[in-house]
Symmetry: D2
Subunit: 330 residues, 4 copies
């Protein structure tokens, strides 16, 4: 049995949620500190990614204490550059004052990363994009996106920034929408402290093979973080990992393994209607079984099958490992 990875989660996994219909929220509000406590309850997590600003009134000191109490470290800070003010974009907002305000939140987030000893600022520019054909000038908006990211990252050469790409939502189309586009953008930015966080579900519903996207990012030296979850391939459902795309999540982790990628296995899930702690536990239970499947997978035989594009043999090898991985759990 190989060494288990460290597990983590976005702290929003333990929040409550609203959507455009259940405007009163699927559950009562959860503060930053309560969410950290819940993450600790899971008993399996080592790190969390925390949104900034924290719940009003909560201090960095309190966050530190809550993390310590929960036996957690902070891996990254995710600035909330997708609230009302940034509805038409953060880096790419048509209003320069709003772009400035977005950068201010991100600069503050960088400072929090330092204070918490975290690994990176995670940039998810969810409002940077467009909704309608003809709504934007595509040259100009992409330039705003890369110029802004360069301005941010160059101001903090001591820190790492990871961009989390996503095809769409909340904008009908987002700018940083794929692994390839993200690599291109980072090349245009031209700084070595900007990388990518790959979200398995974003990749999947964007039409990528997440395994292929991971390999491309690794080959470009840019896979600096990742999140897992699941969906029906048409939207970012943020379901529990391992509930729909078993083979593809296995291929994703297989790809990480053969590349000796050794980062945190993180959850980015939205349990709208479920107990958030139980959702995390069930997810980690699955991930541990999957990790075991990687141990039993006959990688040498698989590589040989792949070298001749022998899908039948490859699938049988995969099924042998995957479809027996939960044996010990029963």
């Amino acid at each position: 049995m190989s060494q288990l990875p460290r597990f983590g989660a976005g702290i929003w996994h333990f929040a409550s949620y609203v959507d455009r219909y259940a405007v009163d929220g699927y559950a009562p509000p959860v503060s930053t500190l309560e969410a950290i406590a819940r993450a600790g309850e899971v008993g399996e997590l080592s790190v969390v990614d925390i949104n900034y600003p924290f719940t009003p009134g909560v201090t960095v000191e309190q966050v530190k204490e809550a993390l310590a109490a929960a036996n957690l470290e902070c891996i990254g800070i995710t600035p909330e550059i997708y609230l009302r003010q940034f509805g038409k974009g953060a880096f790419t907002n048509p209003d320069p004052a709003v772009r400035r305000a977005a950068l201010d939140v991100m600069h503050e987030s960088a400072q929090i990363v330092r204070e918490l000893g975290a690994s990176y600022v995670k940039i998810w520019p969810g409002q940077d994009g467009w909704d309608y054909p003809f709504q934007v000038n595509h040259h100009d908006i992409w330039k705003l996106a890369t110029d802004g990211m360069r301005e941010l990252a160059s101001a903090h050469p001591d820190l790492k920034f990871v961009i989390e790409y996503k095809p769409r939502e909340p904008r009908v189309k987002m700018l940083w929408d794929s692994a390839a586009r993200s690599i291109l953008g980072i090349r245009e930015i031209g700084l070595d402290n900007v990388g990518v966080l790959l979200d398995f579900g974003h990749s999947l519903y964007g039409g990528e093979s997440p395994a292929d996207a991971a390999q491309l990012l690794i080959d470009n030296g840019l896979l600096w973080g990742m999140d897992v979850n699941d969906n029906l391939r048409g939207w970012d459902d943020d379901l529990m990992v391992g509930t729909v795309h078993l083979t593809e999540i296995f291929e994703f982790f297989y790809t990480l393994k053969i590349n000796n990628w050794e980062g945190v296995w993180q959850l980015d899930q939205f349990p709208f209607r479920e107990d958030t702690v139980q959702t995390a536990r069930a997810s980690i239970r699955f991930l541990k079984a999957l990790h075991g499947a990687l141990d039993t997978l006959d990688i040498e035989a698989l590589r040989a099958a792949q070298a001749r594009q022998d899908a039948i043999t490859a699938q049988m090898l995969v099924q042998d490992a995957l479809l027996s991985c939960m044996g010990g759990a029963r």
Copy 2:
């Protein structure tokens, strides 16, 4: 020039919106009365569909007055059976007490329909469905859906009920998901006061041809209402009508016309980031042009082309009418 139809809108077109990211809302809250006033400002609308419960504190009397002041009538009431309490379903909630609470809201809505002299109660069971494979027993949940609808409609034989189907969102999969399924369900219900409201966008992203779905509903005597909007065919984006699928919205209205369907042309749009009144005006401007295109379309020649599946001729006739319909607007 044939007679223009009456135009309408869901009152939520004039609300403000939240989503799971912009939890502070894309704009400040808008009360029921304010939304009615905004609908009146459009200057083109005759009717609105109103959510119930109203904003806390607002009375039916006030709504009546607001409608009169705005020169609007109420066409339907949409009970909010998708708020927190109903997160796991209204008709199909696993908890009988919640099912009862949902029916209570709908019974109250029926009473409001009477008081406002509206045409129907609109039932959009957005939380009735499931998120995960294996989450529900498909037989049992569909029975709850049809039994519940029967119980509701049979309690108000003097009123009409229209079901608005939708493939998904907020549940990952919804029960009433297509025109054909809705017809089947209504047959199982077995009452003649239950029909369908077809939302163009729902039909489109559900993989239907909205024109075909409309024809099927008409042939079954069940097309009792409709909403228009637009999307990118992968999600219910609720964009302005006429911004993406010009040919298909034209075919949809063409189908209504040749069947002498004469109901209200209603807007169901979510202008998250736009001025809601201006959005409605631009939409009606387009719909009027489209209505004019129906006048100039050579229907006889089109029917002849369709009789031989002559797509080329059909498209040229359609382009002749559609691509010159805005001539008078300039």
Copy 3:
């Protein structure tokens, strides 16, 4: 260990294929008799569904002998009502003479069913639909579809007919596109010898939950046959079953089991680039493991979880059974 089902396959599983690019075919042509021999080689199949007309020159007598030699029975005959002549439709072709020709092929197929002692004529009206908006009159074409089917089935009251629905391909949109629409159409036909064959992949990429579609058909007494395979949910890729959607294929078979559905488990796969016999063997190997998983699944606990929509518990139970089902195979 419960009794294994009988396994079957469409005979085209053992053919060679062309597409619009590899116009010289992915492999040399395979005759009807050769394909039957290959099906026999699999060693796991009890029945095959056979296309009609057979390869030119092949007689029914020869087919009988080939089946006997391969230890196979014929479960159904699939008339090829999708060749050049029927490019614009079979039942719904705009030319009455072509419609007649299509019916002739189907009448002959009915006779072959009798001669081979098969169970049904399988009707897959792949060319019945449209490609462009405005290409057809939706009322008229649906009437042609149901009238034609009624004419066919009423001419052979001693036989069963199963309609295999599919959302699209080769037409951009097909008429019989979903379980619900098929049930509606069969009700309009009004005969009791017309049912449905559900193809798992068609259901999946049509946006249905195949388990839900199966339940709906069962509840309407119309699930008379089924095919399995897999795809990426966007097209009818006809991949090997069990290579992508493990959880959903499991839920599909679970649904059949709890309804005591006891028909043949059939393969409908297109191994364009793979050995056809090996593909079938690998598929049956998976299906046997899945069948075993149904034995170990804690159905009582699952039903209890479903009754409260408890997705977490349901998924853990499913993973326990599914992710250990290949244990014995290694």
Copy 4:
């Protein structure tokens, strides 16, 4: 009225087609020379892109004569690296001998380009990709793809090569699948005689905004050719341009215009069931109208609206131009 562009077409627009169902073809075979003659009949085309090898027996000399007789020039040669031999890939075939054979066809195509005075070799590696999860090693296959392309292009420094990306079909997933990935690959190749041909339909059903993809390619100096057509955003239907996505095709050409892109407007359509010449004429008729719409579009006002992401104003300006562009044609 600004100068009309030159129009062109892939010669396959005038061929006949098979698919996996209509294996006898939707029409009788059409030879290279007949297809050229048909292209000439359209009366609107200046150039064609020709597949190589030609129909057996046809010489380059004959092709030259046929082009001259049809008043056409050859813009590019498309080697058929997707026939049976290349079913598991051309550049990325697991068999080195097959990779060599593929390069041989492409080297010959390069020679034909010289002989016909064409502009480029068009590389569409339709079989380069995979079908199943775990079928290939993603690092190795991408390296084969870029290494092979480098070997090809570096052997012909006097010629241009354009890669036409596509998300999928005939492989379930293709390697060169998007604009961004293509740019990345070309950067890895590191040669200045390799560019991109953007197919509007490929871009659309791959989830890109074709206008955005065009802008990205232009900004990278790599948009060297383009094809138009239409589809339902889920598959490469290769329908007539202008039959579904009117607004987005308009935005695409608008983007070309504001960037002063002055290449050929080419058709890549598959009229399976239509007259191929009439299909081309109807398409050019639409493109001419669209070209006129670009003349009447108020670009200055549009740019101002885009600068503030004012979707409503942008759409009204677009509708004013687009929905009156066919006025002169009636």
